[in-house]
């Protein structure tokens, strides 16, 4: 992991944007681990507190490894009034996790997202890169099962 970080830092030598460096690390590792923050700080002289300042300000960054699939529930205005919030609450209780957490089996990371720009198809869910529109709880259940969800139920 440290090699990946070191390589990215080498490629970005002279790059002024810390955000870009962090994005590249997350693209490679799926999250930004503590070790990476220390390494960036050592290589660039930017203090870890400043780096964490960026990491926690922008919602894109994760400090813990993501699950196998990321499940994003859109909670923009249209999705809210069309029932997105209910889907989100339902999944939280089914998975027994909170926003931005990963299921125990490591299969899904659940997070809310503020508008995916597909309001015409509200409510919308995004699994990995695929968007699913006009959802309801029943359709969501089906989709989650398709990705292997709720395995703990059958145990």
């Amino acid at each position: 992991m440290i090699e990946v970080v070191a390589e990215i830092l080498e490629n970005f030598k002279g790059e002024v944007s810390l955000i870009k460096i962090l994005q590249e690390i997350q693209n490679n590792l799926g999250y930004v681990p503590k070790e990476a923050v220390d390494e960036i700080s050592r290589a660039t002289g930017i203090s870890p507190s400043q780096i964490y300042g960026i990491l926690t300000f922008y919602s894109q960054f994760r400090l813990t490894p993501p699950g196998e699939h990321t499940l994003k529930i859109c909670l923009g205005t249209a999705c809210h009034i069309m029932g997105g919030h209910e889907i989100f609450e339902h999944l939280k209780s089914k998975f027994r996790i909170m926003d931005n957490e990963t299921t125990e089996d490591g299969l899904f990371t659940l997070s809310k997202v503020r508008c995916l720009g597909c309001c015409g198809m509200a409510p919308v869910i995004m699994i990995d890169e695929d968007i699913h529109g006009r959802m309801d709880i029943q359709k969501t259940e089906k989709l989650v099962r398709k990705y292997g969800g709720y395995r703990h139920e059958t145990v």
Partner: protein, 585 residues
């Protein structure tokens, strides 16, 4: 056989409905039936969000639009229409589709759904980069600015500042270098026009930027696009590299000596970065926190150099204005709001999608023309919410108000970036206000305390009301706090965030009172105030609620009232959403 063209919508919406499977099936079927000479084109979304749209342009039939196309239908379409020139009526676009496009005036969206956004040739064939050529070969920068001023174009991101004036102010700055920034951080929930333009016609934005660069004397542009739009980012990357290969961007453009480079910056997910000073901070790699203005970015912007920041839709208008002239553009719209505007229709309306109409069109014409009226026959549209979290609600009795930069302000709302969410009698206005406050308090950058703490406090009070613990004094408290936040916040996020609360209080105070005094939610949405009981006076025994229940908690037989098993019920409201008669209370 002469050539047949087949267009398939491949924007985010089309793809989510399965456009890529339809495309594959067409490829397969065309080769199977020996029709390889047909041209299959992946276009952006046309703006009508109703599953997969396919257009077949055949020399014998002209152009025919089909809707709701699935891979299973494709062999029949290829056999009958592509091969034999016979229109397959049962799949062709229905009246709602025609109504949706009738009455639109498409300038910004004119190529969305028509051209292949990943192929620069497709853009060039449709007068692409002609405006840039006209500007840099035949006009002085001052003439370009004059033309934009004449057009009356105002910023489409929401603030409505005259674009030509902004450019002129920046041109007058002596400091070098200067920068052009395209604000593609479309953060307003409920707005998706910029995404569609970037996905469907990215070169128009690049051309607009290059013209802006020429006008203000800049050689470097940045596009700041939000990370939530992966397809837009991918298409922009392709467009930038193709424009460079073809000499429309880069060194010595078209041999004129003018150079302009464009870089793409991916946002990292922060609503406040739509604010221009926060956006600049973010490009510089810092936390996106706004700064007090003045100095304005035209004076001290990116890296403290003169910078103009224009929205995607604004820039997409520019090439058209240069080609057709400012006077022509100014002939559209109203006296103070010229041209057209793209509105994103969503929520409880029959036709959802992007509608481009001349500014000054009334809310009613928009909703009942392209919008096609309420989503469900039994429901009544009671209001719209316009302008995102900074905007407000407009009740039904004001639907004859024209939508432009100024008219809505008197009603307490703003046109903003054009997100228009339709609300019917099953939408709770208190809950909607609470939703917006949860959004803005989440997205507050935390720099100034009225926004950071004030919005949190407002949200707490609204949570108290929707959970049935509200008191009458809370309403007055909300109004007072709203005023303080608006007067003392640093940037427009805080200055406008209380708007959704103030407008719902202004027009729907009785809903607040019902929650507080009667402990009742008139729209049957606030879970804490619902009993989940069937009102037999309203129930028509249709059984839709039972089918919608994910927990099988509703017992129903034909000819009987439905019955909810309270033990099994998880209060997910699927039944309430499904019921056409608001019979579950």
């Amino acid at each position: 056989m002469t050539e047949v063209k087949i267009l398939i919508c491949h924007g985010t919406s089309g793809l989510s409905a399965g456009a890529s499977e339809v495309y594959k099936k067409f490829e397969e079927e065309l080769s199977k039936q020996g029709l390889e000479r047909c041209e299959l084109i992946k276009t952006g979304d046309r703006g009508y969000f109703r599953d997969v749209l396919v257009d077949i342009i055949h020399p014998e039939t002209g152009r025919v639009t089909y809707q709701d196309i699935t891979p299973e239908i494709v062999p029949e379409l290829v056999e009958k229409h592509v091969k034999n020139g016979e229109v397959v009526k049962k799949y062709s676009a229905r009246k709602a589709y025609q109504d949706f496009f009738a009455g639109q005036k498409r300038i910004v969206l004119r190529r969305c759904g028509e051209i292949d956004p990943e192929n620069i040739e497709s853009y060039i064939e449709d007068n692409g980069y002609k405006a840039l050529e006209k500007a840099i070969k035949g006009m002085d920068p001052e003439e370009v600015i004059e033309e934009i001023k004449k057009s009356g174009l105002r910023g489409r991101g929401g603030a409505g500042f005259p674009t030509g004036v902004k450019w002129e102010l920046c041109r007058a700055q002596k400091n070098q270098p200067k920068f052009v920034i395209c604000n593609a951080d479309e953060g307003d929930p409920g707005a998706f026009m910029d995404r569609s333009v970037l996905e469907g016609d990215p070169h128009a934005v690049l051309e607009g930027m290059a013209i802006a660069g020429y006008a203000i004397g800049s050689n470097e542009g940045y596009i700041y696009c939000r990370a939530e739009y992966p397809l837009a980012i991918r298409r922009l990357r392709i467009a930038i590299s193709q424009a460079k290969e073809n000499g429309f961007i880069g060194e010595n453009i078209l041999g004129t000596g003018f150079s302009f480079d464009v870089k793409l910056i991916e946002g990292a997910g922060a609503f406040v970065c739509g604010e221009e000073t926060a956006l600049i901070a973010s490009i510089e790699g810092k936390r996106g926190m706004p700064k007090p203005r003045p100095p304005f970015p035209v004076q001290r912007g990116l890296w403290s150099k003169p910078t103009i920041i224009n929205n995607v839709e604004t820039l997409a208008n520019v090439p058209y204005i240069i080609l057709r002239g400012g006077d022509w553009y100014a002939s559209l719209g109203t006296e103070k709001s010229k041209g057209t505007k793209v509105f994103a229709l969503a929520g409880k309306v029959r036709n959802t999608g992007l509608v481009e109409v001349p500014l000054g069109t009334t809310i009613r014409d928009l909703l009942y023309g392209p919008g096609g009226g309420p989503a469900k026959k039994m429901r009544k549209i009671k209001a719209i919410q316009i302008g995102g979290p900074s905007g407000g609600c407009i009740p039904e009795n004001l639907f004859d108000t024209p939508i432009d930069f100024d008219s809505l302000v008197g009603a307490g709302a703003i046109m903003g970036s054009g997100g228009l969410i339709v609300l019917d009698d099953s939408t709770c206005m208190v809950d909607l206000a609470r939703f917006f406050l949860s959004f803005t308090s989440d997205e507050s950058c935390g720099k100034c305390f009225p926004c950071r703490l004030g919005l949190k406090k407002m949200l707490e009070v609204l949570n108290k009301i929707v959970s049935g613990n509200g008191e009458l004094k809370d309403v007055e408290f909300l109004e007072n706090l709203a005023k303080s936040i608006m007067e003392t916040s640093l940037c427009s996020l805080g200055k406008t965030a209380p708007n959704p609360v103030l407008t719902t209080l202004k027009y729907f105070r009785e809903e607040y009172e019902a929650h507080i005094i009667e402990k009742r939610c008139p729209a049957n949405q606030c879970v804490a105030l619902l009993g989940f009981e069937i009102n037999e006076e309203k129930c028509t025994q249709c059984g839709k609620c039972a089918k919608a229940c994910p927990e099988n908690a509703i017992a129903w037989k034909k000819g009987e009232y439905a019955k909810i098993d309270r033990e099994k019920c998880i209060k997910c409201k699927s039944c309430i959403e499904a019921c056409d008669f608001m019979a579950i209370e």
